[in-house]
């Protein structure tokens, strides 16, 4: 394999990797905080892309659309937690999983209902069109922006959780929700906001990928299993773990596609099952 092909594969892997990391961090927050495997995560990711598409059509432009998409998905997440998941905290967690699964079907069908079953393509904003000469090859500017912006966003999330007072509350909720609420933290509000934040991250991920992959109602069904691979591989509830695993899975998948395309998708899941069996606490997890 030539150098330019290899670096092309690695860079593409990093682009999908940062998106996997972003989506995985969102899923990880929800899983760690609320103890819910959010099967609607893929549908929320897809909705982010559709919201950006709709907002850009409505003359908000790319950047305004991105903010609108994040806010829209966050509001939806808030509603899901407040109206649905909240009623299930007392019963077995399997029911929450099934509720989110039902919601994912409803949301996916709703997008088909509103935007039709076929996909669209979407051009990146003008200032990010074209490519940059990296020496061995020319690489699209927009994809470099994704890497940079998402990298900063993921880093920001991590700093927020590790270094701020609100982050400490989230960590307390992940660690021991009963103790946190005994210390006077309104844990229910933290749950609502936590779910909204996790959903928003998925929505931003989907929206950012829109100019790269285009849009289709099935995009949620495709990313959802991968997001779970990332979270499980990184360690349940570990945000740095999800980041590392996201990048790892992205690059691994991209390299596998370059080396042996038929086995690429299956090998991602082989990686996860191997991970669970050999290192159940995850790459960076403690539990």
């Amino acid at each position: 394999m030539s150098v330019s092909l290899l670096s092309w594969a690695v860079l593409n892997g990093l682009v999908t990797g940062v998106i996997y990391a972003l989506t995985g961090v969102g899923l990880s927050i929800i899983l760690g905080l609320l103890n819910i495997p959010n099967f609607a995560h893929g549908a929320l990711y897809a909705l982010g892309a559709y919201f950006l598409y709709a907002a850009a059509q409505a003359a908000l432009g790319f950047w305004g659309g991105l903010i609108a998409a994040a806010l829209g998905v966050a509001l939806l997440g808030m509603a899901i937690e407040y109206l649905g998941l909240r009623r299930l905290y007392g019963v077995h967690p399997d029911y929450a999983l099934l509720l989110t699964f039902g919601l994912s079907l409803i949301l996916t069908e709703a997008t088909i209902f509103v935007w039709g079953p076929t996909g669209f393509t979407f051009q990146p904003p003008l200032m990010l069109a074209g490519g940059v000469n990296l020496g061995v090859m020319v690489y699209p500017k927009y994809r470099l922006m994704i890497m940079l912006a998402t990298g900063l966003l993921v880093l920001g999330c991590w700093l927020f959780v590790e270094r701020t007072k609100y982050g400490a509350i989230i960590r307390a909720g992940i660690e021991d929700r009963d103790m946190a609420s005994a210390l006077g933290i309104n844990i229910r509000r933290v749950f609502t906001l936590g779910f909204a934040a996790g959903a928003a991250l998925a929505g931003i991920g989907g929206a950012l990928m829109l100019p790269v992959r285009g849009i289709a109602p099935t995009m949620g069904v495709e990313i959802m299993p991968v997001a779970f691979v990332v979270v499980v591989l990184g360690g349940l509830g570990s945000l740095p773990g999800a980041i590392v695993a996201g990048l790892l899975v992205g690059v691994f998948q991209s390299l596998m596609t370059a080396l042996w395309a038929p086995g690429a998708d299956a090998s991602v899941f082989a990686l996860m099952t191997l991970g669970i069996l050999l290192r159940p606490q995850g790459l960076l997890g403690q539990r």
């Binding site: 899983l31 299930l88 099934l98 919601l103 079907l105 069908e109 779970f228 499980v232 998708d265 899941f269």
Partner: protein, 326 residues
């Protein structure tokens, strides 16, 4: 004695339902209902009775379907041999994967079953020489039922329905015996409290593994029946959407009740048939049904029936109670 009488009444009602179902729905749909009922009652054994939510039952359904179909296509295997082949391969796969999955609990267990399902899905998807990939595996024959002097062609939908119905009833009886046996009791004790089951001296992992493997055999056999029904193994047979469908059937029907998955399979398949004729967006209705069941009716259709019966009984009782208190 009363329990035994009630169980007999239920069994007779089931046989009657199997007999009259094709009068209400097309025989093909009726056959599909009992085929998925087999897969659903297998999941019920591990999810409803043993407490392990497997999100990967399509692995065994699909492998059974491909195995039986390939045996019949390439080796001209007779009917019963193909069914046995699917069951054995389903059991073997479940034995290997189950051994790995049960090493972990909770969400990790679910993700392992799901991860293996995805792995096998992509293998089937890409290995087009063997499985036909996205186009499905066409040309699956439906050999006649040959058993000693008996020789019955299954070439019409009604005949095939009768065959599926008999197989289903036999498997249902087998499942009832398993659930009522000491093994079934141990499974339930593991669901209720695995630590206590281990403390009493039962090898929890061993029994989980046995239940998982039995379910694999049932599901693989259901896969072969499915392949013969339409003469094709579609790729969806091994996709996680099918795994999800099987989970919904058990959940909507009623967990940990012998008849729950049957009600769930019948309800779901009948509804999907009735709805998709007039409307393409069937998953939307499924999603709404799922959300409603999870929020308001966690016992499923079985609980709904029980509540209805209770309400009726209360209504009948009320006048008498009033007289007594007066």
């Amino acid at each position: 004695m009363a329990d035994r009488g009630r169980a007999l009444v239920r069994l007779v009602a089931l046989v009657a339902a199997v007999a009259v179902l094709p009068l209400f729905v097309r025989p093909v749909v009726a056959a599909e209902i009992w085929i998925f009922a087999i897969a659903a009652m297998a999941l019920n054994l591990i999810f409803g009775y043993t407490g392990m939510l497997s999100f990967g039952q399509a692995t065994f359904f699909g492998i059974g379907a491909y195995a039986g179909a390939l045996m019949m296509i390439h080796w001209q295997a007779p009917l019963l041999l193909a069914l046995a082949g699917g069951a054995v391969l389903g059991a073997l796969t479940a034995a290997v994967l189950g051994y790995l999955c049960i090493q972990r609990l909770g969400i990790y267990f679910i993700m392992l079953t799901f991860g293996f399902n995805q792995m096998f899905f992509f293998i089937a998807y890409k290995w087009t020489d063997l499985t036909g990939g996205e186009d499905g595996l066409p040309g699956v024959p439906r050999p006649p039922l040959a058993l000693g002097p008996l020789h019955l062609p299954l070439n019409t939908a009604t005949r095939y329905y009768l065959f599926v119905a008999v197989v289903f009833l036999l498997l249902f009886y087998a499942m009832k015996r398993i659930v009522d046996s000491p093994l079934g009791l141990i499974c339930r004790s593991i669901r209720e409290n695995p630590n206590r089951a281990a403390a009493i001296g039962y090898d929890v992992k061993l029994y989980k593994w046995i239940a998982f493997t039995i379910a694999g055999a049932f599901t693989g056999l259901a896969g072969v029946l499915y392949a013969m029904m339409y003469g094709i193994v579609p790729l969806e047979a091994i996709s996680w959407i099918t795994s999800g469908d099987i989970v919904f059937m058990v959940l909507i029907g009623g967990l940990g009740n012998l008849y729950g998955p049957l009600l769930g399979a019948a309800g779901l398949k009948w509804l999907s048939e009735a709805v998709s004729v007039v409307w393409q967006r069937w998953p939307l209705i499924l999603g709404v049904a799922l959300v409603l069941v999870v929020l308001y009716l966690r016992g499923g259709l079985v609980e709904a029936l029980a509540r209805l019966r209770e309400a009726l009984a209360r209504r009948r009782l009320r006048p008498r109670v009033r007289e007594e208190s007066a």
